[in-house]
Amino acid sequence: MRLLEVENLRTSFFTPAGEVKAVDGVSFSLDHGKVLGIVGESGSGKSVTAYSILQILTQPGRIVGGSVRFRGKELVGAPESEIRAIRGNKISIIFQDPMTSLTPVYTIENQLVEAISLHTDRNKRQSRDRALEMLQLVGINDPEKRLKQYAHELSGGMRQRVMIAMALACEPDILIADEPTTALDVTIQAQILELMDRLQKQLGMAIIMITHDLGVIANLCDEVIVMYAGRAAERGIAREIFYNPKHEYTKGLLRSIPNIENDEKEQLVPISGTPVDLLNLPGGCAFAPRCDHAMKICLREHPREISVAQYHLSSCWRNVEEGIRTGMLETDETGEPIRIREAIPAEGGRTL
């Protein structure tokens, strides 16, 4: 049994202007102790995917389909009380902006103890001891003093450490990090990432790292999902995504990263165009209007996700076309493409 299985998850926001399909059929799974990166530009549905797992979406957003299974237990449609027992306990989340993510009118101690005593049967004293222990674990100096302080008395980096302490206090199986370093300055970013890396090895929880920073993904993640317009454009193990990208969007993203080791004067290639309007999605591949290699079919029909290599899936017509050209494409009995032949899935038909 996988730790977390997300299958064809669809989440929409029902705005006065119409239905915004923020997440439109995302599937992935996560094993114990693995780090999964979700990368994509603003509005690609990364955060909404995370919020959908914990069902902390705000109005007018709601899950409209698909399934989220935690240790085999279906969460979509489960009673609120069961979800609450998982939130902050089995699956925790830290957010992008630590400046505003702590309640300003309660002390750090109050908020940490609240989380701890909610999910464990520690009494007040034991909860406080645990809070202290967690603050030490995340490397906060003078933790006794910090407990007594309010969020506005701490720096951004310290607040994010407090958030991490709060998220990990109940020893969750999964930590979702929703752009945990975006709002911090660069040196603090590195410290926080290092801390997360250390804690992950120390405590062994799985992490879902949501970011738009490919560098963060490359350092930390075992597996990567590249999202575009609410769907997974490409997903697979990190090595495959970085060294063997198959989707035009992923290739574009990688071309737009500066390379510090390259001495030559290298021009960065931005992806042209603007992100799609989710209210007005194109009929075919959502990336087609910005894609330099778009074909007729790209504009007409959404590409199927096919296996392009071992542990590597991509949704791009170019992969299908290439498969046909080289004669390596395998189809199912109805003629739908399923995989490029050399991409033999591992035993048990494992897909990521």
Binding site: I86, R87, L102
Partner: protein, 308 residues
């Protein structure tokens, strides 16, 4: 912290004294600048009578001396003698009137704040729903209706037509209608304020954190959201309390409540400037006190606020 706080209290107290002193100076000067005398009446008095009266009240002395005497009196809670109600002290009259106004005001303020907080929160939590819309319509109507219209309508329907409540404030149960007429406007205002404040807070990131912790929604709302949402309410509640406590001239007149507001109007009609000054100064003291309490309450609710 505590030394800082004591310093703050002392500074604040000094400021309050200064404010009240300025109010005394200004009212004293204004009152003595008006041409009408408390002793002028339709039936002309002889010059000797007026001179005797002025001597009795001390109005024959030069203004600076009168002012000094007045200040000395106030320090002993002696606001002088009423000229219109012969034989009564200003302090006694104010105390008497305030005993009515304070009850009405306190009940109205508590009613307004409690109902306003509950209705505003309910409205925010049901945003866009039927309950919210009903509350919105009612509060808009109440906010835009002046209290004298409401009071007259209440008097007419509940007092005269339905005879549910007595029409005179001094009768048993007679304070109910004045309390209601006085409470509805601040209640509606508090509701609207609380609704927008609550909606604002519910959209904040820390609410998401609280939910992600696994807290029950009532804990999220009543522990995390409510305390933050109260901050604008406190700003409004202080002056509102002071305003409502000193009595409403209109409502007290409509229901014939012998409160401070009515006393104020009557003393103006009879140019009893000792009472006018007395009430004005009393009001100033009350407002200064309420603002001070508000500031303390702020600090209690919001640790980010620096008292200085």
């Amino acid at each position: 912290m505590s030394a800082k706080f004591t310093g703050y209290l002392l500074r604040r107290f000094g400021m309050a004294l200064l404010t009240i002193f300025l109010v005394i100076v200004i009212t004293f000067a204004t009152m003595h600048a008006i041409p009408a005398s408390p002793f002028s009446s339709e039936k002309a008095k002889s010059d000797a009578t007026i001179a005797a009266l002025e001597a009795k009240y001390g109005f024959d002395k030069p203004l600076p001396v009168q002012f000094l005497n007045y200040i000395k009196g106030i320090a002993r809670f002696d606001f002088g003698l009423s000229t219109a109600w012969v034989g009564s002290t200003v302090f006694g009259l104010i105390r008497n009137g305030f005993s009515y106004s304070a009850i009405i005001g306190l009940c109205a303020a508590v009613l307004a704040l409690l109902l306003g907080l509950v209705l505003g929160s309910v409205s925010a939590l049901n945003r866009g729903g039927i309950i919210d819309q009903v509350i919105q319509v009612i509060t808009i109507a109440l906010v835009s209706m002046p209290s004298f219209v409401l009071a007259t309508l209440f008097l007419l329907f509940f007092g005269l037509r339905l005879k549910w409540f007595p029409t005179l404030g001094t009768q048993p149960g007679g304070l109910f209608l004045p309390i209601l007429s006085l409470a509805l406007y601040p209640m509606a205002y508090t509701t609207r304020l609380q609704r927008s404040s609550m909606l604002d807070v519910l959209g904040q990131d820390f609410i998401r954190t609280a939910r992600a912790k696994g807290l029950h929604w009532y804990k999220v709302v009543f522990k995390h959201a409510l305390k933050c949402a109260l901050i604008p309410i406190v700003t409004y509640a202080g002056p509102m309390m002071a305003n409502i406590l000193v009595g409403s001239m209109v409502v007290e007149n409509i229901f014939s409540v012998p409160g401070l507001g009515r006393l104020f109007v009557n003393s103006m009609l009879r140019t009893d400037y000792m009472i006018i000054m007395g009430i004005t100064i009393f009001l100033a003291i009350l407002i200064v006190l309420m603002n001070f309490l508000c500031d303390i309450l702020y600090k209690v609710i919001d640790p980010r606020i620096q008292l200085s």
